[in-house]
Symmetry: C2
Subunit: 297 residues, 2 copies
């Protein structure tokens, strides 16, 4: 990665932060405790999902203005899911993004409501008519994509199976299905949201992007399993070694560390290969995939 | 109410049940535990919010086909909010709609996820292109209405203030503001959703409907406070006397039983008066308001 490319991913991240801050209700809006906690929950993170929306949109020639709402909405859904996943009744974690989780910094009831409100806001953001926003029918298609990815046949469904699987060994195929839901669905949604904003998109191009999103999502998850073993709590900003503590099946526990890493490498190669027909328009997607491949947290 | 009218409200309720059942994922869909629990949570209830969508739509001449998604989506939001409100960290209730609450019948993690998934489904349903559905721009407007009503500046915000207010006396104006958010916003949204599906709706008619929705929503809430004192657990299908047990300020605790009932009567009169210009097209709305006024649970 050369420094010019890094600067550009950085500028997209800055763009996301500004778009997000503008769409979160002011911290003093009624009720202030809730709105402050929402900002706390939405703060931080690598914003990889938003960057994927922007990068996929760039590959399709979609203006950034038409992607802001989608980029913000996936980050809101991601943030809400972390708040709820960390609850005592779920993964019961005290550390996230290097800070106390919302139910620790505030309280459990507030954390439940923060998650609920962030999810509602994600859809509200897609429905807002801002200058340069995608057309109404395109934004309605985005609502459909995001709701499916976030719902019971997507992310929430994966989280359910994840909890059901605690303390027992599951087969690799079952683990892959779990993760295709729990993390994969929302990552896939990022490229699909960008596709919603592209006029007259050819089916083959959409499918190629989806192949990219699926491979990237699964590679990302395997990396997560590897980092849970190899990383430190400080580096990760969340509790290290949690999978083993919760007796969860992971790619590392099922394949071993070496083969898990090999599988991740394969998937990142597949993700790159899926973009072959996009040529240089996919430069940002390749760059983002490289950033993900090299992540340490 | 004559029997013909009753039959018609009944037929709308049956319509809602069919539309809802068709939009909930099958109980054996992956993951089955989640989808069964979603159906358990969405089952039962008086469906007053859905009926209000249909009745308001009828007053505006909107075909029922264009209202089904909105009617289903408000019931999904309402159902999710009950599941989360009943959680141990929130109101901690074991009984709802005459049955064990979701976290009792299943477990707490499942209840959190059921609520999350029902909320996502509400927006997915609005985005679906079914035969006779409202136009895409109208459905996008519905997404905006529902997301705002359900979110931090609506229902979830009201729930936050409700929890913050436990154990302390609040002023009547503050109580009214709380309820305008906690229950009022979603009831108001019902008439606004119907308005979204009406082509070329005059502003005055929209505003009249909104006055109706606001008065009805507040009257409904005062009734709730009265029923919490006067009803029985068996009749209500939820724990009676909860407000006092949680030391919550209510219309009854602030105004006394007699004046609370008087205020509710006034509000129902206001709700009826708001419909004056609609003439006979508002017959169903009047009929529904009468049903609400007479409810015992």
């Amino acid at each position: 990665m050369n420094s010019q490319q890094t600067a550009t991913l950085e500028s997209l991240r800055a763009r996301l932060e500004a778009a997000l801050a503008a769409r979160l209700p002011p911290p003093d809006a009624y009720p202030p405790r809730l709105h402050q906690a929402m900002r706390y929950a939405a703060d931080g993170g690598k914003r990889l999902r938003a960057l994927l929306v922007y990068a996929a949109g760039e590959a399709l020639g979609v203006p950034l203005d038409a992607l802001d709402a989608a980029a913000v909405s996936v980050e809101l859904i991601h943030a809400y899911s972390l708040v709820h996943d960390d609850l005592p009744a779920m993964d019961d974690d005290a550390l996230r993004r290097g800070r106390p989780t919302v139910h620790v910094a505030y309280d459990e009831a507030t954390a439940i409501l923060v998650g609920d409100a962030l999810q509602a806001l994600a859809f509200e953001v897609l429905a807002q008519d801002t200058p340069g926003a995608a057309a109404p029918a395109q934004r309605l298609a985005m609502v459909a994509v995001l709701a499916q990815a976030a719902g019971s046949r997507g992310m929430v469904g994966g989280q359910m199976v994840d909890i059901e699987s605690e303390g027992r060994t599951i087969a690799l195929a079952e683990l892959e299905r779990l993760h295709a839901h729990k993390t994969g669905a929302l990552i896939l949604a990022c490229v699909q949201l960008a596709a919603c904003a592209a006029d007259g998109l050819a089916k083959a191009r959409r499918q190629a992007l989806e192949r990219h999103g699926r491979a990237l999502g699964l590679g990302f998850q395997i990396q997560d399993d590897v980092l849970d073993v190899e990383g430190s709590t400080e580096q990760l900003g969340k509790t290290q070694g949690k999978d083993r503590a919760q007796a969860k099946s992971t790619y590392v526990s099922l394949l071993g560390l070496t083969d898990a890493k090999r599988r991740a490498t394969e998937l990142f190669r597949e993700a790159d290969a899926a973009l072959a027909d996009f040529g240089s328009s996919a430069a940002r997607l390749h760059q983002l995939a490289a950033l993900i491949r090299q992540r340490r947290s």
